[in-house]
Symmetry: C2
Subunit: 222 residues, 2 copies
């Protein structure tokens, strides 16, 4: 059996969990508290980050986009980076949009300040950073709505790794109750379609001790 | 002819310039001053970042790793993400190591503080950030040396996108004169091999007005 080292609310880990679900690949999920910098884990991934995938034979793949490309090459059904070279580029552009830009502009400000800081005892959340995170989130929800209004799925006609990546990031913020869904109906409809996929269900059952998600978090008709 | 929108000292742009050189693809290089947020450029890439590749037919590909994957699929000779799925994963892991980790730990602290801040009139460089950047650079040079000592190239036996990405990032810091080469002989030997490749030459001729590189920057026997 494969092992996935992950953290429940980490968007990058969630991306791979959804992808594994879409491809119907069973894994042994193992929570890795990366801040402990466990030596055996650093030997698997010197960057010290999750997710890390360990194959039954011992081969190790680290970094979410790298794991996604690896799984798409080795377990191609259903392909999640599909189509022509230009179509595949659009999937990857959107993956990096969320992995790089959304993470820097939203996730670090909201999940970082509200949760990780408190959890790691790094002091009070910075209210200015939180305000900036909310303002940036509005821009990103508009962008998702803009695309979702013009395409069937984010990267085009096919459900792809772009939808998985975007939903993984949004879902972590949604756990905090920070997504103003009522103001962004197109984005909400897109997210509702993903939320109802079987691959997404395990994420809705996640629970971080001491931090209950809002009631709508696991509701498919939110 | 293809067009590459770039910035001369931007590591991500440099990565694609080296890759284009390796594949012997001619492009029309166009400097894009991203901070001006030119509307026609934002229409090509709403993220507003370089590099962006525009094909002769008008197709547009944005984001360095996305462009690299696209070029490897459309102009496969020589392949820069080659081998088995696990070998390809190792190439990609190292690309992200430099694009994500090195950038956050070194480039933003050194190029960001010393150059972009002054250039954009954002105040004095933060000396604490610069000190942290130097300390982190030491760790990264050790890591490069550690790998280079055990493998022919960073990701294995083949010259790959991992070497290109690492060298692109290092070269921007080297332009500042900030790389303590004498303390890192293995990393230096690896870099010297890349520096002598024809694909790398154009970067050594770059010159940013008002900021002369150190004499060793363009010297192949530094």
């Amino acid at each position: 059996m494969r092992t996935l080292y992950h953290l429940p609310l980490d968007p990058y880990s969630r991306k791979i969990r959804i992808l594994l679900g879409e491809k119907k690949i069973e894994v042994d999920l193992r929570v890795e508290q990366t801040w402990e910098r466990r030596e055996a884990f650093l030997a698997l991934n010197p960057a010290g980050t999750v997710p890390v995938l360990e194959e039954a034979g011992g081969a190790v793949v680290a970094h979410s986009q790298t794991i996604a490309e690896y799984l798409d090459e080795t377990v191609p059904e259903p392909v999640m980076i599909a189509g022509t070279a230009i179509e595949r580029a659009e999937v990857r552009r959107l993956c990096h949009w969320f992995d790089d830009k959304f993470n820097r502009e939203v996730t670090e400000h909201l999940l970082g300040e509200k949760m990780m800081k408190r959890f790691l005892g790094l002091g009070e959340p910075n209210s200015e950073a939180i305000r900036a995170g909310h303002a940036n989130l509005d821009t990103h929800l508009s962008y998702i709505g803009y695309i979702a209004d013009r395409r069937v799925w984010l990267a085009g006609d096919r459900f792809s790794l772009a939808d998985i990546t975007a939903a993984a990031h949004i879902s972590a913020i949604d756990y905090l109750g920070d997504v103003p869904w009522e103001d962004y109906q197109e984005a909400k409809q897109w997210y509702a379609r993903i939320k109802s996929r079987p691959s997404f269900r395990p994420l809705l059952a996640d629970y971080v001790p001491g931090m209950r998600p809002p009631p709508h978090y696991e509701d498919l008709d939110f």
